[in-house]
Amino acid sequence: MLWARLRACCVPVLLLAVLAGCARGDKDKREVVRFWAMGYEGEVVAQLIPEFERRNPGIKVDLQQMPVLSAHEKLLTAFAGDALPDVTPLGNTWIAEFAQLDALAPLDARIAATPGFDAADFYRGAWDSGVVDATTYAVPWYVETRIPFYRKDLLQAAGVEEIPASWAQWKAAMQAIKREVGPERYAILLPLNEFEPLLNLAIHDPLLRDGGRYGNFRSAGFRQTLTFYKGLFDDGLAPKIGNTAISNVWDEFGKGLFSFYISGPWNIAEFKKRLPPELAEKWGTMPLPGPTGPGASVAGGTSFVIFRKSQHKDAAWKLIAYLASPEVQIRFHGITGNLPPRRSPWSDPRLANDPYAKAFRSQLERAVPTPQVPEWERIATELRIVGELLVSGRLSVDQAAAELDRRADAILAKRRWMLDHKATELAR
């Protein structure tokens, strides 16, 4: 009796569900590509999708936006739960990690098979961020690197004629500025709660050795960086503070609390917007000085990957090829101000004539990826902490270098075990 009643009510419901399913299938037979994107870029990219769908009538893009701060966590959880999308832009420092998880599909064959896809057009540093152990896993979407923003008027007032290119010139310029601005103000802001300033100064030298098995922080190059870095604080050129102690960086830059500030391309728009009109012509960007001449910097940004478990790799690749094409890159720059990771879009007048982007253009030729080990972000955090200890005078340069090596080696212990383990297994 009960069964009969259950059947009586359930069968129609089931039938309805099946019918509804059919109806949906009839309406849209397009292949669905699941595309997750982070933050502001994730919102804006929606404007570029209709054109892609128009060119590829058989593909529908299912775009999901992720908040930047929890994106890494969400992707790892999705990996553990086997719920990853088909394609996503990954932060460049995460690529090694996801490659290690064997979550990424190699792209070399697709790149070679796509006519007109010019890999050599991409900046070397940005492209290499997606290459792990000689396999290409990622195609750059947008690139960022850090260079100094500086106050033209203050440099001029201090008698600095030429934009410094080497550390020695840079330091001399800073000392001149410090003499000019007095004890209450500084020459440069290097926030102690960020690892990026020290990392960008140090990236000219390999930071890990033996295939990412050990830290390379006791090298002469890195100790030279530490000496330069510490000197800026010891000489009173940089305040010993973090960003949290500065309530508004743009405001303080405008007031001349510091004349140099190492930051990324997003700040071009912010400085334009937030500095008072009388300062509009009085600031600029310059390539990052290095030990002896123009220096290297970190190639950050995000790159597209296709996940290995994806069932729609071909369609996902079409989306990547479309979004990475020069014309779309120019449109994307127009909307977001993000910098294209390849050279050809830079000849577009909007980019070529932008005085603030110019320094980034030459800097990108010298940008290099961070070491490609999953543990890198943790090591970079230790770099910040030890850098802070160095600046506060609790460690000397040699002690700080040794301490960093000790910490990095401890963090890399499991990686060494894994690599040795794999080697013995292969030998067997």
Binding site: L76, L192, N193
Partner: protein, 292 residues
């Protein structure tokens, strides 16, 4: 059906839920703390190694763990008494017969408890700003040099303590207020007839009568303060010079930032052991002194 079976039946659903959603995860976490579960193990379970108590031993040798433990103790030992004193003081003021506008003050003093930590932390960061903060502005008018509240390793923790006490004292205040209202008025009357001063009344009537409430508040506050996390997370991110890294903050970083879940579980169990020891100690002390 015997009473025994009936009892088990009634308690059954609750026990089941506790076993399933508390007991089991705790056991799983204990098992996890004996392994080196990390991102590599997530990729391939063959990369998981059983390490016995190595995680615990490594933690005990990790200077950052001791620093975090020291910071947490500093926070608990200063923060808990301060918080209880502030709550009790506020409750006494509100309970005083001369107090005016009681409902208003009760709400005003309770308000910080229901605010969001993140929103309030932003305001506090402004208040304690070295250059433009109101606190330093007030101090400078007294001729005191500006203090780098959140940027100086010596001052960051006191600032966090102040923030936490301000944020939390209202909750205990309400409990104390209820406790004060439960003290019979005739006790005070008798004390007055015996010629006891206000202080003596407080010392010999109010405090002993509040004993059980004090114990409850003490245990709750201590357990809560040992789990310091949100305040340094939003105010200082553990800085400057890791002077505000708490044990729970260390666990969060190990587990959710670096994905060393084995290590993070070990931190959690060590914190659990420490908290159990302290709570038992407090209970033992209370029992010895006849409160309960």
């Amino acid at each position: 059906m015997s009473t025994r079976t009936a009892g088990w039946l009634f308690a059954g659903p609750a026990l089941l839920v506790i076993a399933l959603f508390f007991g089991l995860p705790v056991l799983a976490a204990l098992a996890l703390s004996l392994t080196d579960f990390d991102i590599y193990a997530l990729a391939d379970i063959r990369n998981l190694r059983f390490v016995g108590i190595d995680n615990y031993l490594a933690l005990l040798q990790n200077p950052l763990f001791w620093k975090a433990l020291g910071n947490t103790f500093y926070f608990v030992l200063v923060g808990v008494p301060l918080s209880i004193a502030a709550s009790l003081g506020a409750a006494l003021l509100l309970h005083a017969k001369v107090a005016k506008f009681r409902p208003f003050f009760r709400t005003a003093l309770f308000a910080p408890v229901v605010t969001t930590v993140v929103a309030v932390a932003v305001i506090w960061r402004y208040l304690f700003h070295t250059k433009y903060g109101m606190v330093n502005w007030g101090l400078s008018s007294l001729g005191i040099e500006p203090v780098d509240w959140l940027g100086d390793p010596h001052w960051a923790m006191p600032t966090i303590i102040l923030f936490a006490v301000w944020k939390n004292f209202g909750y205990n205040m309400i409990i104390f207020l209820a406790g004060l209202q439960a003290i019979p008025e005739d006790l005070y009357e008798a004390a007055r007839i015996d010629g006891a001063s206000g202080w003596k009344q407080f010392r010999h009537v109010t405090l002993p009568m509040l004993g059980p409430v004090l114990l409850l508040v003490g245990i709750l506050t201590m357990a809560g303060y040992f789990q310091l996390f949100a305040e340094p997370y939003v105010m200082t991110q553990g800085g400057p010079l890791q002077s505000t890294v708490s044990v729970l903050y260390l666990m969060y970083e190990e587990g959710f930032k670096w994905w060393n879940l084995g290590n993070a579980s070990a931190v959690a169990f060590l914190l659990f052991a420490i908290m159990t020891a302290f709570t038992s100690g407090l209970l033992w002390l209370a029992r010895k002194r006849g409160v309960e």
